[in-house]
Symmetry: C2
Subunit: 256 residues, 2 copies
Amino acid sequence: MQKLILVKVGGKVVENPDLLSSLLKHFSSIKGPKVLIHGGGRSATALAKQMGIETKMVDGRRITDKQMLKIVTMVYGGLINRNIVAKLQSIGIQALGLTGADLNYLEAVKRPVKDIDYGYVGDITKVNTEILCPLVEKNIVPVLSPLSHDGKGQILNTNADTIAAEAAIAFSKYFQTELIYCFEMPGVLKDPKDKTSVIPDLTLNDFKKYQEQGIINAGMIPKLDNSFRALSKGVNKIRITNIEGLESGGTILKTN
Amino acid sequence: MQKLILVKVGGKVVENPDLLSSLLKHFSSIKGPKVLIHGGGRSATALAKQMGIETKMVDGRRITDKQMLKIVTMVYGGLINRNIVAKLQSIGIQALGLTGADLNYLEAVKRPVKDIDYGYVGDITKVNTEILCPLVEKNIVPVLSPLSHDGKGQILNTNADTIAAEAAIAFSKYFQTELIYCFEMPGVLKDPKDKTSVIPDLTLNDFKKYQEQGIINAGMIPKLDNSFRALSKGVNKIRITNIEGLESGGTILKTN
């Protein structure tokens, strides 16, 4: 099978013009079919503040009421996505920016209200790879924003890490997939204060052990939960790294 | 040659949810390949106001400084475009929302500064129909936002009426094209106060005569200038109408 590389890049990278340029340069040097998935939460929060709208988060997840949905549609689907696409075009990448509604590539349902009403948040029900495969096979690079839709005309806010994992799983039927989570750290660290303490290989057992010992915590846990799930569902390789490590560095996740 | 219908819809329609739903319903009933082009100036002005940013216009054209570019990228490329696409998907249309950077379909140059510095405004240099034709032939409906790019990483603001005319001209090499300008009036009116005074056929000579007599004025003139130019450059048919007239009503422009 042909190889497909999916790179998820977080807000701290895409929201800094120099880091973004550096990332896109590294990204463009990856050979063969590839997909870019981006976040943008900090910019959404900043715009909300400028508009006098309060940002509410529960366990790191954004409460997306009607006004916040408007903001994330503008920031994720407009500002960040369109600018990444323009920058990729300028370095010779035939990019196409998508929300889940475009070509109906990502179907979701509005999250049912249980203890918390997350508002217009979408839980993924289907990644339509039959739409995306012909694109990546033609060297078109889909740039996926963290927005899905419900098929009834409603855009929904969906976590970018989750889209990356679900897209990688769905593509694994047709490609040998590698999913790279690119963030500001060189990998999963044994000591968060020591950037040289990258764990080169991380098994699910290691992850559980480090989690118990409090070595891995906070923001890394949902990312790693997502990743190990994707690994168990057919994704061939998952790495967690920073821009400099995009080609080969960082932490490689391993099944036990 | 196969027929292709391009519908340009103005801000007053896309910014009113009921009118937009009605438009999209009429649009979806058009058979065969089609393209939708939308504006959104009023929403951009409203967001600017909410953010405490002043909107400057010269002869009906927006001065697009750095802050205003951010706003139009969010509003045109995000909010309006993504919501139209989601709504089209909900009525069975395989829509794809584009800026000029997406698939590099619309190339432009930043308008040179003469008397007025329009800022980040793009003058169209090329419509890449070789990118768009395979899409419309597969019944994918491109939804074109009024944003182009310069190929050097810069998104630019480009008038939607102009994009509609230039796209229609470019498609005329491959399709029998009909361009429909859909706005709030049933057509070009002899008396702006009388909605039943639609001029059914309008030649370039009539247009010049009416213009001299002050019967056609203000906002209609650049639209008609654009249209007669498109007609002379190979577009087969141009109509100016409202939602109700989308299928067959309004004013038909004629070469003399």
